[in-house]
Amino acid sequence: LLYNNRYDGDQVIRLLPKTEQQVDALKSFHELVKVDFWQPSSILSVKPGVLVDIHVPRNWSEKIFQSLLQAGIDFKILVPDLQGLIEMQSGSRARIRR
């Protein structure tokens, strides 16, 4: 498996903070858990109404989902199996070559 299967269990979620309070909740949470932002490029660019895609590591998924629910932030799972999607990105011949 590519990258030694390090992304096993990881997901990408999409959320939409609608209020300043929700943005603040995200920023507070980000102080504790430094997740990788797919878009926008950082927590600094998160504002009400801006779509946010974040890479959720397997070990943090439960905590992140609970925090989002507590803050009332709607989210959906964009990529349920990140390792699987990485494997799918390349055709089999290209993967063997790598």
């Binding site: 590519l2 878009q39 926008p40 490029s41 600094l44 895609d53 964009l78 990529v79 990105q89 390349s90």
Partner: protein, 309 residues
Amino acid sequence: STHLYSYEVYHSLEEIQSWMHHMNRSHSQLLYLFSIGKSFEERPLFVLQLGKRSKHLKKAVWIDCGIHAREWIGPAFCQWFVKEALQTYHSDPSMRRLLKQLYFYIMPVFNVDGYHYSWTTDRFWRKTRSNSTNFNCHGVDANRNWKVKWSGEGASLHPCADTYCGPVPESEPEVKAVARFLHKHKKQIKAYISFHAYSQMLLYPYSYKDAIIPNFKCVESAAFKAVNALYSVYGIKYKHGPASSILYVTSGSSMDWAYKHGIPYAFAFELRDTGYYGFLLPESLIKPTCTETTLAVKNITNHILKKCP
């Protein structure tokens, strides 16, 4: 030689560099490979000059791909565009006209160290691979390291942040090398186009302020026609407009720097898709993405040559 290399798979940095050398040897009438400097990890920063050789000074368009390491569709597009230009030079009058009238300076992989790191170690790496002296973190966001509204909104001064703008502007040798080249050739270079992913957008200045550029009419017209041309291929919709309104206000990017330093037509593409695959656009979508984008780039270039001062 363009038929032996696959343009519908992602390639390692070594493969891309071998390809560049091979193309340089086999298409010397239309292609010239040179280096503009070295990366932090001492890798050469290669640029391809694409176009019919001329004794006279020709206008030029600069294209770079892969400022952010994980955006692999960018370098895939740069390779595709070179292939397409060479393969259609004799059969496509519009491509032939472009390559006779101007040069394309194409940098297939801007962030060579980051690209290699994303290929081998961390697929979602974004930044360069320079060292921070005080922290055990690597890299600078190469699109926030330019001397234009540096360290503004959205940039971070913390070395461990993904949008770390660096200790000073142009701290990254990659950024400095490109800035030096663009500055040296700014009378020749009429357009700057940078390729990123994802979001399906065609952006132009400003990123760092909510204001209209002086030559808005021509830039907007070029962008509008380009996204329409792109849409005509497979029906894929791209938003277009000033980065500060289509996205959000951020610190200055490479596009803003190019514009501020006298390149009148500066654009940034955010290629496919809108998040279903994100950075992991499958190889099966390289061809359609690059086909539609090639048409958009030709459209922009033609518009600028014919319609704009």
